[in-house]
């Protein structure tokens, strides 16, 4: 379908319904479709390796299988927030102030928040099984929770309204502030916990010797979720592009209508 779609720049701003009809379901390209298929194959692999082929852990039994989702989602969330910070900087410090960077930042943050939520959920389930509690005030856990809340706030700021450039600038500044905030939070929590208790709570990934098949499953998970992330970002930022176009088209329609009104009035 993508070959028949016109260049986005050439969308006539006055015909909103035609725009929405034409652009329905066309956030994909040849590349993103290949990426999507590859992601799907790897996810199936991950299910097979994670649930069937990999052995249960000696102490954790089958609950170790949560790790095959938990670790990749955490990795993707951190990757996503890194991309958001980088894109924010690109938007702010490049002279062009391209909205494309802003949309990548926004799309990446949305997906990061979703994956971070999955990390927190899977992590607390695993914690309940292994540590006996859903939550522990460990530095890493606390920083992760703060990351989650910070980017929920970032997404709220993106929805404040105003022009696209206003949204982009405001959220780019916030995206960069988040980058300096997180190390400070992590540092303070680390200092707090290290003063507070002698031994840290069980370190989930420390120096554990891993079975080869387990390590492989985890590796498959990391790649599968990374591909899933890129696939989602590609689609989401294109969808955001269409939303922006739609907004602009709305404005153009309103302008045309007002002009028509004044013409009628001057005629009458």
């Amino acid at each position: 379908m993508s070959t028949t779609v016109p260049n986005p720049q050439s969308i006539p701003g006055t015909n909103v319904s035609a725009v929405s009809r034409r652009w329905r379901g066309v956030t994909s390209t040849g590349f993103s479709r290949v990426l999507g298929v590859a992601t799907l194959v790897l996810v199936v692999w991950l299910v097979l390796f994670g649930l069937l082929f990999s052995p249960p852990d000696q102490t954790q039994q089958s609950s170790v299988r949560i790790m095959y989702i938990h670790v990749p989602t955490a990795w993707v969330a951190y990757l996503a927030f890194g991309v958001t910070g980088l894109s924010s900087a690109m938007y702010l410090f490049r002279r062009a102030h391209s909205l494309a960077w802003d949309r990548v930042a926004g799309a990446s943050a949305e997906i990061g928040v979703m994956f971070m939520a999955l990390t927190l959920i899977t992590g607390s389930l695993w914690g309940r099984l292994t540590w006996g509690v859903y939550w522990a005030w460990d530095a890493r856990l606390t920083t992760t929770a703060f990351l989650f809340v910070t980017y929920v706030g970032y997404l709220a700021v993106r929805r404040l309204g105003g022009s696209h450039q206003a949204r982009a600038k405001r959220s780019a500044v916030l995206g960069l502030l988040a980058v300096i905030e997180i190390p400070l939070v992590h540092f303070s929590v680390e200092l707090w916990r290290s003063l507070h208790q002698e031994a840290s709570v069980a370190n989930p990934s420390g120096d554990v010797k891993m079975d080869g098949l387990m390590l492989f499953s985890l590796f498959v998970g990391l790649i599968a979720f990374s591909l899933l992330y890129f696939w989602l970002v590609l689609h989401r930022q294109r969808a955001m592009y269409l939303e922006d176009q739609y907004d602009d088209a709305d404005l153009d329609v309103a302008l045309v209508e007002r002009r028509a009104e004044t013409k009628e009035q001057s005629r009458a």
Partner: protein, 244 residues
């Protein structure tokens, strides 16, 4: 009026002084903070006592409650300090007049810090009266330095995020969501430093017999926090005002 612009805009610190004097002047006349925010802060201290119920517990957690009450009041103060600017388009006027945004930022942060200091002084009295806390004589310097740095950090962060949310729809509900995660390091650091100065937590628990010197690493962290966000605010406030 280029002459005026040059006179005001060229000197960041002069602008800051003027803006701070303006903000404090408005407060002096309206008494909104004095009549509303200070009682609110005092009320939270009383409510904490209701919730925690036991005297020995409130005495032990007094430093934390002090900084929690300060943090909650900070949100109200920031709302107020930007309501003044956005109400009659005052911020736009400042911007059109070509006033240095860094100067505006520092001025507003300064006025906010001044209000916070008054609030904290009264809260300290409240904590001593209601929670039977007492500061160790050797800890007085620690309390003053901690309060100074924590207040600077809170004022810098509050002004920065207040400016970010200023003029936007739904800012009343947005500001706490943005601000509270960011000020968490101040809450942690200032509370631990005050605990050292107050000598709470001593006698039992994991940190039996906390020393005054245990508080000073936190002071270092508070200083880093204030410096980082002060610099970020000076740099970022211009772009934020441009689009507001």
């Amino acid at each position: 009026m280029p002459a005026l612009t040059a006179a005001v805009g060229s000197d960041m610190w002069r602008t800051a002084r003027l803006v701070a004097a303006k903000d404090l002047g408005i407060e002096w006349r309206s008494r909104q903070v004095t009549n509303q925010v200070l009682p609110f802060a005092g009320l939270t201290l009383v409510l904490f006592a209701f919730a925690l119920d036991r005297d020995d517990i409130t005495a032990r957690v007094a430093p934390g409650l002090f900084w929690l009450a300060t943090t909650f009041s900070l949100i109200v103060l920031v709302q107020r300090t930007f309501a003044v600017e956005t109400a009659d388009g005052a911020l736009d006027t400042l911007r059109v007049a070509g006033v240095d945004p860094a100067g505006i930022y520092l001025g507003k942060a300064l006025a906010l810090a001044a209000q916070l200091v008054v609030l904290e002084a009264l809260l300290l009295v409240g904590v001593i009266v209601f929670y039977a806390s007492h500061i160790r004589p050797a800890g007085i310097v620690l309390v003053i330095v901690t309060a100074f740095l924590a207040t600077s950090g809170l004022a810098f962060v509050g002004t920065l995020y207040g400016g970010l949310a200023a003029g936007a729809k739904g800012r009343e509900t947005l500001l706490p969501l943005l601000l509270l995660p960011v000020v968490a390091p101040v809450l942690i650091g200032a509370t631990r430093a005050f605990e050292a100065a107050f000598g709470t937590r001593g006698g039992e628990g994991i940190r039996a017999g906390v020393e005054i010197s245990d508080g000073w690493p936190w002071v270092g962290m508070l200083a880093i926090f204030a410096a980082v966000f002060g610099a970020a605010g000076v740099l970022a406030f211009g772009p934020l005002l441009e689009e507001a």
